[in-house]
């Protein structure tokens, strides 16, 4: 199997996937081990193609093989044992991956059950290829089976919402997929509730069943035993699926975790992290202090809160201080995208922009826009929106000079800040000139909206000597932090060119005070 081009291509695909998923992030072991196992999917798929091809080749040379004095099933056993080759490659890839993770200052612990899934998956796929080849004479079935598995994998994804209208884990089916995809709505802590052991045992039994069904047993009795084993296996799978859902829907207790956060005070700023992320406090501190060294920050607390999970009372969010809502951080040598986001939030405090969302009601412009978007809404949408209590809202810093300064400050404070800013600008939709800060606006705690045209000005500002910029900003500091000073005026001070973009007056979001 090792000599098959399919195996080489699959190995390259798995290596690429490892790099894609784990290349630039600071390792959190129990999450990254799952992705390391999932990265074996290309190798597993190519192993299925390779074993299927080998089995079909055996059938094409059946006349030659019958002259060799050996049992009918022996060549199949040879191919089945050949699956050990790709499994060995998977072991090598995962070992390299683990070394990479361990060398990146990891937090968390290794879940060996999850890690073993990658290897077992390669074996099961290989045995599946042999089964298809031994019972069907055409290789199209291998390709169709792979497309089917890919769809099964997608449908069993906890976020697919095929079997449940609610977002979140629908564990009754996700464990039946070759790889259990982690939910985007589930935190790293929530991964503990995955049925890792059951999934691995299921895959091992499935592999054994595929291996036994591939060979033709002499005698009706043995054949009957095999078929009944397959039947018992299927019934067991269905029974476990039905009984598993309720157990797995228990979620991580964020309230309790928030109450037992680890807090440290450094240079007058209190940093609070969940237990798992305790070692990241030092990284946050370094980032905040890098901004503080250029223009002082006005911060007393940096608090970690999970995204999309409300564990604070309404209105309490504003009192928390700077909120770190991501459970990702950048690997040492990678582009500092998470670090840039944190630096930008710290820079918000330097220039007087809000650090958290502010409680507010719908503006007239927003209500009008929503009425226009929902003409068929059943009921009186306007009165419903007007009567809604205030909720946490982001504000728009579009066209404000201090927004440009905040972006510039964050990029200047970091060693590769300019590259991080350029990368975030490149990722923003070019046609709309919209640039959300932080770029992951879906995390629920984004306090401000900064437009791409203003971020472009910050990028231009980075081209000027930092000392000249700081001197001029200090001279005009009162104007800089004034919300009425426009980014166009700031561009005039430094002789920058403001790109054409959407009209400031056309914005519907509440301007930042």
């Amino acid at each position: 199997m090792l000599r098959s081009p399919f195996t080489w291509i699959g190995t390259a695909g798995s290596a690429a996937l490892i790099w894609y998923w784990l290349g630039g992030v600071a390792p959190i072991l129990q999450r990254d081990v799952i992705f390391l196992a999932g990265a074996m999917l290309p190798l597993a798929a190519s192993t299925l193609l390779a074993t299927n091809e080998a089995t079909l080749r055996r059938r094409r040379t059946a006349e030659t093989l019958t002259t060799v004095p050996r049992g009918e099933s022996e060549p199949l056993w040879g191919i089945q044992s050949g699956v050990a080759g790709p499994v060995a490659v998977a072991i090598a890839l995962q070992t390299i991956g683990m070394f990479y993770l361990l060398s990146g200052g990891p937090i968390g612990w290794i879940d060996w059950w999850e890690l073993a899934v990658g290897l077992v998956m390669v074996g099961v796929f290989g045995l599946g290829g042999v089964l298809l080849g031994s019972h069907f004479r055409h290789s199209i079935l291998a390709s169709v089976a792979l497309v089917g598995i890919a769809f099964a994998q997608l449908i069993a994804s906890p976020d697919a919402q095929v079997f449940s209208p609610e977002p979140g884990p629908t564990a009754s089916v996700e464990w039946l997929a070759p790889w259990m995809v982690p939910s985007n709505f589930e935190s790293v802590e929530g991964l503990i509730s995955r049925p890792s052991e059951i999934h691995l045992i299921y895959l091992l039994l499935l592999g054994g069943l595929l291996a036994s069904l591939s060979t033709r047993a002499p005698g009706r009795g043995k054949r009957l035993v095999k078929l009944s084993s397959a039947g018992v296996f299927s019934v067991a799978v269905v029974a476990i699926s039905i009984n598993m859902a309720g157990e797995l829907l228990t979620r991580f207790d964020w309230q309790a975790a928030a109450e037992s956060q680890v807090c440290e005070i450094h240079n007058g700023v209190e940093y609070c992290a969940f237990n798992l992320y305790e070692r990241w406090i030092q990284r946050w501190q370094q980032t905040v202090e890098a901004v503080d060294a250029i223009i002082p920050v006005a911060l007393s607390r940096v608090v970690q809160r999970p995204s999309n999970t409300q564990i604070d009372e309404p209105g309490a969010l504003e009192e928390l201080g700077l909120i770190v809502s991501t459970t990702e951080w950048d690997r040492g040598a990678a582009l500092p995208s998470q670090e840039f986001n944190l630096a930008l939030l710290a820079a918000h405090s330097s220039v007087g922009l809000p650090l958290t969302k502010q409680t507010g009601e719908w503006t007239e412009a927003e209500i009008e826009a929503m009425l226009e978007d929902n003409p068929d809404y059943p009921g009186d949408l306007r009165s419903q929106l007007e009567s809604e209590p205030g909720s946490p809202r982001f504000c728009s810093a579009f066209g404000q000079a201090r927004a440009v300064v905040a972006v510039w400050l964050a990029a200047t404070a970091l060693e590769r800040g300019e590259a991080a800013l350029a990368s975030q600008l490149a990722d923003a939709p070019p046609t709309r000139h919209i640039f959300w800060i932080p770029i992951d606006a879906t995390n629920g705690t984004t306090p401000t909206l900064i437009e791409g045209v203003d971020a472009q000005l910050a990028l231009q500002l980075l081209g000027l000597p930092a000392t000249n910029v700081i001197d001029l900003l200090n001279d005009r500091w009162v104007e800089v932090i004034d919300p009425t000073t426009t980014s166009a005026e700031l561009a005039g001070w430094f002789g920058l060119t403001r790109m054409s973009g959407p009209d400031v007056g056309a914005q519907t979001d509440e301007p930042c005070p």
Binding site: G13, A45, S139, S143, A150, P429
Partner: protein, 245 residues
């Protein structure tokens, strides 16, 4: 007509059976989906991929050793095989697209701006043709070099290529939704990919003795320059070329 009559039973029909079943399953699964392209695109594209996988077996010719010596050239035999195989392919593509277009407005124009309830049928057909051409290109390359039954490797190669295309960095990825800013850029990529697929298929489906139009052209150029060299030979009559003895 004789060639057509003889080739109809010789074209591999088995691949179409599981592929038809798979496409039927996808069409059934699409019934419960929201009538918007974003929800249905994976199913649509999966169905088109399955059809292309089956088409990549079109050049499988176990009797190639015998038929190679017949007066009908390879390109003619391949063309007839392709025409025969395009019939089930087109049927399955039509099934996929019509299942996907249920409760949606089909739009044939390739670069038209689309509303969420409109299905870019023209773009899907372009994608289907491109995938099919790449499967055929892989099969024709394999058939000309190594194998009389290239479909099994070509289908695997198409599958791997397809999976690899999803791993391309976002800014170059050929897959796009109408809402993406890359929707127009992706169109260019699909046209280029289709052109490459068709060119490779044609180039490697020429008669094996001529080794494709490119090689025959080069060979003609080579023989012309050899003749030119003979004409410029300034040796005296009777002088012997020692190197060629």
């Amino acid at each position: 007509m004789t060639l057509l009559r003889r080739l109809i039973p010789a074209v591999p029909w088995v691949p179409w059976l599981p592929v038809s079943a798979g496409i039927g399953g996808l069409a059934w699964a699409m019934r419960g989906l929201q009538p918007d392209f974003a929800s249905r695109q994976l199913y649509l594209r999966g169905g088109l991929l399955l059809a292309a996988l089956a088409l990549s077996f079109a050049f499988d010719d176990p009797a190639a050793e015998t038929t190679d010596s017949t007066p009908s050239p390879l390109r003619l035999r391949r063309s007839v095989r392709l025409l025969i195989s395009l019939l089930p392919w087109a049927t399955l593509v039509a099934v996929v697209v019509s299942a996907g277009a249920k409760n949606m407005d089909p739009v044939i124009l390739l670069s038209a701006p689309l509303n969420p309830e409109e299905l870019p049928v023209g773009r899907l057909l372009l994608e289907a043709a491109t995938m099919a051409s790449w499967g055929l290109a892989a099969a024709s390359v394999l058939a000309s070099r190594w194998d009389d039954e290239p479909g099994r490797i070509a289908s695997g190669a198409l599958l791997i290529g397809y999976a690899a295309a999803w791993m391309i960095p976002e800014q170059w990825k050929p897959w796009a939704n109408p809402a993406d800013p890359r929707w127009q850029t992706a169109l260019t990529w699909w046209w280029v990919a289709l052109g490459v697929g068709v060119l490779v298929t044609v180039a490697f489906s020429w008669d094996s003795r001529q080794r494709g139009p490119l090689r025959s052209f080069l060979r003609r150029r080579g023989s012309q320059s050899a003749q030119g060299a003979d004409a410029r030979d300034t040796r005296e009559p009777g002088e012997v070329d020692v190197a060629h003895r």
